[in-house]
Structures are given as structure tokens and as C-alpha cells.
Amino acid sequence: MTSRLKRKLDNMGVDVSNVTENFCMIGTPLPSLEKADKNEFVPVWKQDVRDEKGRRRLHGAFTGGFSAGYFNTVGSKEGWTPATFVSSRANRAGKDQRVQRPEDFMDEEDLSELRADQKLVDTTHADGAPGDPAAPDDANIWNALVPSVRDSPGAKLLQKMGWRPGQGVGPRITYAKRRAQDRIAGAAASQEGDEMDDEEAGKHLYAPRDTVAVVYRAKEDSFGLGYVRGAGLREGDGGRGKKAEEGQAISAGFGLGALNDADEDDLDVYDGSRAPTDKRRLAYTIDEDEDEPVLLGSKQAAPFRRPAPTQPQTVQAQFFFPDGRPVLQGFKPAGAPLTEDVWFAPPEVPEDWKPDPSRVWELNGSVKEGGVGVQGKAVDGKPAPLRAEERGAMLGETPLAPRSVFDYLSKEARDRLQKASASLKPPSAVEIKKEPSPPPEVKMEIPVLEPATAAAALRGYQPFTADPVKQQRYTTYLQMQASRSELPAELAPLPRQEMDSFNKELEDYAKAARIFKPASGAMASRFTSSSTVEMDAKPREGLHAPEEQGGYLEQKAAEESRMEVQETPRQHAAKMGMFGPLTRDVSTWVPSKLLCKRFGVKDPYPDGVPGEEKPAVTPAWKAPESSTASQPLTNAVAASMLNQDKENVPTTKKDISNVGLGDDDDQGRDILTYEKPGMDIFKAIFASDDEDSDEEEEPPAPVPAPKVESTPLKSVENQSAAPHLTAESSSAAIYNPSGSDARQGLDISSFRPTFVPKTERRKDKEADNRPKKDKKDKKKKDKHLLVSFDAEEGITVTPSRDESSKKRKREDKERAKDRDRDREKEEKRKRRRAGEEEEDDGMWVEKPPPDVLVQAAVEKEPPSEANAHPGRKRAVDFF
């Protein structure tokens, strides 16, 4: 039950404590869907930052995120605290500088790695397969080959069959056999056997020795098989020295003389320099013996070995070279002769040799200007990188249909291009080879084209199709260039052609060929043929100038006319200034309710958008007028209505619009479509049953109190008119507070109880020409209060405010019996609320229900009463 409903019921006089119904039959009511109000104030700390995908950006400290600053804003509640300036003048670097540690530069990942490295590791499983990354290659290979002895299914099977790690596989053997195995394996592990008692040992069977896994070294050098590198200078003695050096580092400290043996206590266990790659620092080494052959599951105890005693440096023999000279201190002559690296003498340079690169180029035969024929060869003899076409040819690809950029151009554009290219300066003289036969005065110059270019141009666009003769000559020229043949006869200068014009013609051909050479396949595929044909028939050189015949304006006009063709009738009408229905759209627009309220306009669509179908909702508090219109509305009736509503709830459609609203189907909606409850309810709440108190009722006034004071006459007027009118109206079940105007409908919105000061009230009563109830009435009111208190005693706790009323209460008790109890009961609730006001000097005067209404209430009471307290006995029932 929502608090809103509670409040409403409370306002209506229903005892909320009795109404404990939850309309949700099964389960917990869902929170309403409409709770997510965007405008709802959310405190800063409840807001969460979300990225554009709606995921939360920042998390709390315990959910793995961070919260920048003070609630993601600034450093503190007050804002960023500015750092106070500290002069570094007196505080130079190094004096009080913070020592930077590597951790300062590590990010989160590094730090976690570091932490992981500092973790203790379990080494119990490390035997047999040392996991030390710095272990020798053999171990790594071993690791790679055999995953782990312990957990492989084979190992498990073997263990079930009696095999133990460290033993060989196979049936048990006698001691002698085992000795023999040891001998085969070498003297590596035969020490213990010697000490054993032979006779005793012979009585038992032993597990066979583990077979040594042979590890083959990968051949990493490029020497021949079986070649052993000669000991170089560095390896002769240095190898051993290095080994000695690699022994445990002796911690530098006191009390360890040069002659002392380094004890294990003196070892510098903190020396990290030994294994810089090893991030794990252990108090012990996982694999001490690197030389030991790897045994399958070898469990041999690796005793802590004392480091090999370092060579006492003072006890150094003085060495002499063969010629008698002493060897420098700290050195000794090599025992074995060093093999010398073989040096080959460079070839002899002939006397008459002169550097002449051109000879070499010629030898390679390719380096010519223009790069003709350089294919796959370069000056230095290395193969030049292949071009795409060459590769394609090698692979046997059929080349893409060669297409030139110019294939995609319109004819006019090509012509223009051609003209432009013709006007260009001839390219550098590199490409022009001199022809040996110069005709008369002007030499005939035939521009040279690369055969590939010529061939491509032949396949590509033919620019001179308009002129067949020219085209023919062009083709001939290209063919000549492609085949590198001599000038054919048909390309001879035309009968009346000057040589220079002929040369120019040929040059044009060469240029055209270069221009219209098709693009390479990759390029060609990027273009598509233009579909529009350029209308401009004759391109003009120079800057574009608008045409003389008013072209621009005409074009604009034409454009406009073209646009007019496309424009809609609406646009046309608008252009013509024919505004009206053609240019107008009328549509419904639903202003929001709040907007209407703010604008002081009645909502045009109070019950939803006309087009939309809203689910039929049974308004919870609509019932009074419809079902109980003629019924006097008492509290009990209100309660019965509650029951009605309860019955109604399951009948309402459960659809998407009202699901999730929890126990209140009309959440939100009842505010929007709230209808004032019928007048009877107000009457029932505020009206006393005293007939004459209704004369104090005022027509609703915005400022009630002063008005009453100023117009006592009016109220007299009213009360004279009131009785019959109210009777009339109540018979029609319409309550009319403004007695003077019977026809006028009740203005529900402005109805309110009027405030009348006590003095005024008295005056009014004196003015009343029915004085029978002026004092009695007051008494009766109190009486009602007390009686009702009594009647309900023990059932609902009514706070007794008046101690002195107890006596009267008793005597009222008798009278109460012959009074209508039900009326008292409703009085009780009214009193409970109105009690406080009644003690004041001025008081809220309540409109009593008219006679007929009260009468009806009496008649109608029993059923509603039963509804109000179903299955509950009251004190009255026992009388």
C-alpha cells in the first residue's frame, strides 16, 4: 500500500490503520517503472559516471575502480588545495631529495608482477623437472619433452604398479645387476653402493636404475660435423676462471680474511647481480647441481655443497716464459698451443689494373640511360626487386585488361589533354636518340619510346581515331617503337610535309603514347568509365570567361526552371505566393500537461492523445458518483468502496502499461486524472449532523474569515434559505453548499470549510430564529464525542483529551444507547481530527449533512458497516 493511497484515505476519513490490504496478491510488488525520473535529484555521490556505451566508468574502491579526487571532482571538499611554493634555493637537489625507487616508475602491472615475484613458491614439485628458467638447456629441453612426471597418466599408472619416482622402470633386479647398471651409467652415482654391505645387499631385489635421458644439443654453429672449435684466447683458461667466478659471491664484510675459507654464512645471499634475469630470489637454489645428468624423477638428495674454495691468490706460482722471462703477475703461460685463426691473403691486384666501373657495367650489360632492358639485374649484380608485372608474368598471370586513365575520359577531354600535351615543351634530350641519317637540312628526329610503353599505348586508347591517316601513322610509329625496328616506309614524311613538321608529328605521337599509356592493372581497377558526356564541344584555352550572350543569367534562369519542374506543388504555391491550404499542414500536437498548466491553458487532451489507445483504467475513486450516488457517504461507505476497489483490481487488464506499477495500478495517473470525490464524502467528513450548523456555511470565498466577519447579514440570509434547499439537494444527492443559489452547481474546486470565529458563531446563532439548539447543540457535540469515545472503547484507542469529561461520559452512556450508534461512530472519526480545532477560540465549522442525508445514512448503515469491519465484533455488538 503506497503512502499516497494512505494519505488519500486518511484525508477521506478512513482509518488507515484498519486498511492494511495489499493489492498485490502474490509476491513482492515491483517498484514502479516510472520511478526513474530524470529530473529527480540525485546526490553527487549517487551519480555514476558512464561512458558513451552506458558502462560505468568509475567504480567504488571495492569494485576495482578508482574515484578521482573528491567524488570525482576535486581534491578535497573545498577544492584543489594549491601547493605552497617552496623555494629550492636553500634546498638543493640531493640534500633533502626523495630517493627515487624503481617502484616509483612502475605502473600497476609492473607492481603486481613484482609482488607476484616476491611470493613464496612451492618447490616440492620442482624435482625432476626443475622449473628454473635459468636452468641449463638440458633441463629446458627436458621440460619441453616430458611435461611433468607427477601428474601424467603414465606416471600414475606406474605408481600404481609400484614404481616410485627416482626408480627405473622394469622388474626388480638383484644388487649385482644394479651394480652393473651403475657401471654402464658411469661412476656418477656409484659411491653409495660401495659403502653398502655386499652380503646384506645381495639378499634384496632392487629397483633398476633410472635410465639417463639422453639430451642432444642442438647444433647452433655453422661448423662442420664433428668439428670442435679451437680454444680461443678467451676460452683457454677463461672458461675455468669464469666458472670459479660464478661461485657464490662472498659478502664483503668484516672478519673474512683472504686466507679464510668462505663459509656459507659469509655468502652474500642478497647479491642480486648473479642472476639478473631471475626475478625470484630464493634463500636456496632450486637446482644446485647443474652438471648432474637429468634423471627421470631423480630423487637424489642434493646436499648443500660448500662452494668450491677459492684459489688462494697469494699462493701463486711464479711462471716463466720459455725464454726465461717471468710471466706477469696474475698470468700464466698456456699449456696447450693456441690454434690460430686462419687468415687468407687478399688476391693480388694486377699491376695494370685501373678502376673502370663502366667496364663492369658493360659486363653486366644493362645499365643504359632510360633503363631499357634492365630487368631483374642491377649494377651490383644483385637481382633488382621484381616489378609487379614481371612477377605476374613469372607466375603466369594473365595481365589485367590494360586500361588507361584516358579510357575513362570523354573524347573532348582527351582532345583537350592532347592539345595541352602538344603545347608542352619536349622532354629532356635524354630520350631523343640521334638518327644516323639526317635528311637534307633538318634532321629527321624520331623520338624514342620504351618498347613497353609503345606496346601499351598500342593496346590503349587511340587518340587519333578522328583522322584515319594520322591514326595509321601513329600506330605505325608505335609498332616501330615497340619492335625497335627501323623507320618503316609508311611513316615517311608525307608528300608535302616539311621535315620539322614531321619531327613535330612524331614527337606528338610519342607524347600521346606516353600520355595514353594505359594505367597499370592495379590502378586501372580503381577507375570506372565516366557515364556523362561533356557537352562542352570546344574547349577554350586560358581562363574561363563567361559567355557573351548573358550566359550566367540565362543559366540561372534555366536552372530555376529546371528546379521548378522538380518542385512540389507546395513549393510552387509558396513561390507564387498562393499561401493557403496547399501550403499548410495541420496536425495534432499534444502539449505536455505541465506545459498547459504553466501556460494556464486547459489541457486539450485530458484523456490522452486521440490517436493513441490507452488502456481502460478503472479510476479508483470514481466510484462514489456512479455506484453510490444516492447513498449517503459515510466512512463505512468509503471503506466499502475500498473493498470494491479491491475487487476491481484483479479485473483490470494487466498489460505493459500497468505492469510493474506494484500495488498501485494508478500510480501517477490518479494525479493526472484525479477527480474530486463526491460531495458526500466531504459532507461525511466535515459536516456535523446538526441541522442548524449548516447555516454557518458560507459560499466558498477565497478569503473566508474576514468575509464572514464583514457579512453577518449574508450568513443570516443564507441560513434562512438553507434548510429546504439542502433538503432538496440532498434528495437529489447533490450537495450544495451555497444555499442562496440553488441552481448553481457546486464548485468543487473552491469548496472548503469556512473558518468562523467563535464569537461570530454565537452571534449567528442568536440571529437564528430557531434558538432551541444554541446551547444544547454545543453540549451535544461534546456528548457525541464522548459517546463515540465510549462506544469504541477498547477497539480503537482514542486519546482522551479531556479528563473532566469522564463524569459526563458516564451519564452519556445511558443516553448513548438510544442514540443512533452509527452516526456516532462517524462522528467519532470526525471529532478525532476536528478535536484540536474545537478547543481553539475560533473553529472550523463543519457543514452538517442535511436531514435526508443523515436519514439515508441511518438506513444504509448496516451493510456498509459490515463492509467496514468484516468479521470483526465491536463493542456495540455485545450490548
Binding site: 505566393g577 499542414d585 501556460f599 486539450p604
Partner: protein, 318 residues
Amino acid sequence: MAPSRGPPPTPRYLHLTLDSHTGPVHVVRYAKGAAKYILSGGQDRTVRLFNPDLGTEIKTYKGHGYEVLSITVSPDNSKFASGGGDRSVFYWDVTTGQTIRRLAGHIGRINAVEFNGDASVLASGSYDGKVNLWDLRAQGVRTPIQVLDDARDSVTSLSVASHLIVTGSVDGYVRTYDLRKGELHADYLGYPVTSVLPTADLQTVLATVLDSKVLLMDDSVGTALATFTGHKNDEYKARACFGHAEASVVCGDEDGRIWAWDLLDGKPMGDNPPPKVHKKVITWVEQHPVKSGEMVSASGDGTVKVWRDQITKNGENA
């Protein structure tokens, strides 16, 4: 002046020139009530409060980060709102010069802002094609009451009358939202609409289109009751307004002339063409809401000019 003698003359005598804005002035508005003050906003990101009678600049409201394109004054003259390039409507307190609220919600510059009758709702039309209706009464509300997003292009102008919201947009439509009827009338005018202003009886709407035309549209049927032409306006937003008592229509043009037409016959009043009074485009003209003989105009030349219907001492000095 007797109605038979036509509309009162347009104020043509220069009373004052206010040139404290640096850069074009986009808007100048009279205060409400007796309208003793004017507020102007310009490209220099300020809103300035002037006394048009004396020519004194009373206050400068700085806070906008971009140009100020529109201003609206609340009926009690205690607040005003301004919109501009910074996509938020600034709601100002006149006396303190502080922004009370900044209503952010548009994604384009705000071309027009307008209060409703009691300044409880603020309408803002933006370049993003939306009109946001903001609730100024509710506190802490960040979302508009309603968004009118019918316009398909920038909303250039906006007017709010008692139950009407009239918008003009670049898509060529004048849209009239009728709250009482719950109807939307969209009238296509063919050219971008740069200013809309309903008459007091809410029967007609004065609309300026970038076709060098000012149209008086009948809101009930959508016909053009009158067309006022002669001026040049096809590029800039030039706001047209009614002369005193809505007897005439006044609009500045891009040549710096202030045109005035008789509302009834649509003929230009006074000289044709009128004299050039501003150096650049006139962006805004506004008739004094009470006095018949006063008018202000704002221009792209950076000046606001106050016009009277007779020669004044100040005007002589100027």
C-alpha cells in the same frame, strides 16, 4: 491620432546612438511595462542595459562565451534570458548581473529565446532544429518540459503568446503550436523564415522570409493577408515588428534602411526607399511597447539607434 488618418508615423528622428558594443549587435529589446530600458546583445558576447532616453549604459552582463543572439525579458523586469552561440540559455538576474540558471540542452547555437506570459516557461529555439520549453518554476529540473522537434532545420525565431508558440525555421515553415486546441499549423513559406511575430489578437503572424518579403499570415487558414516588399533581405536575419498599435509593419533591411509599411494597404510609408540610417544590415527593430513615438534598431555596424518621432535635443547633438 484618428484612425482615419492612417497609422502613426514611424519614428524617424534619431534620438541616440548607442555604440558601446564592439561588433555587430544582434538583438535589442525593450523592457516590459513602461519599457524605460533596453537590453542589447551582440557579437561581443555581452548583454548591455541602456537607458534609451539618456543614452547611459547601466550595466553590462558578461557571461556568454559566444555571441548573444536573442534576449527576452520577464514581465516583471527582474529577470531576463539570453541565448547565443554557447548552446545554453542564460537566465539572468537583472540587478545582480548574475546568471541564475543556465539551461543546457541544445546541441547548436540558440537563435531565439522567449518567455511565456508569466515567465514560468522559457522557449528556446536552436540551430539544432528544436524548440525546448523549459520550466523555470521547478527547481533543479534539468530537462525541458517538452521539446518541439518538428522543424527540419535551424529554428531562427520564436514567439510565445498566451496560448500560442510560433516558430520560424530555415526549412521555410512557420509553425504555430496551439496549446488550447492541441494543434500544430505548419505553413510553408518557401524561403527561410527569419522572424515571426503574432499580432496581439493572435489571428495573424508577421513573418520575415529571406525572399525580401515580410508576410502577414492568417493563422486560421494559412493565407497571406499582406505582403510587404521593397526592402532587401535575402541573407541575414532581419527582424520585423509591428509599429505602434499594430498599424504598421517595420523592418530593417540589409542596406541599413528601416522600412515601414502600412499594415492595411501594404504600401511603404514615408520615403521610398527610406534613407539609409545604418552602415550595415539592420538585425533588429523594435517598437516601443507603449510609446508610439519611439523605436530602437540594432545593426551589424555595432550600433543601437533610438528613434523618436520628433527631433530631440539629443538627436540634434548626434
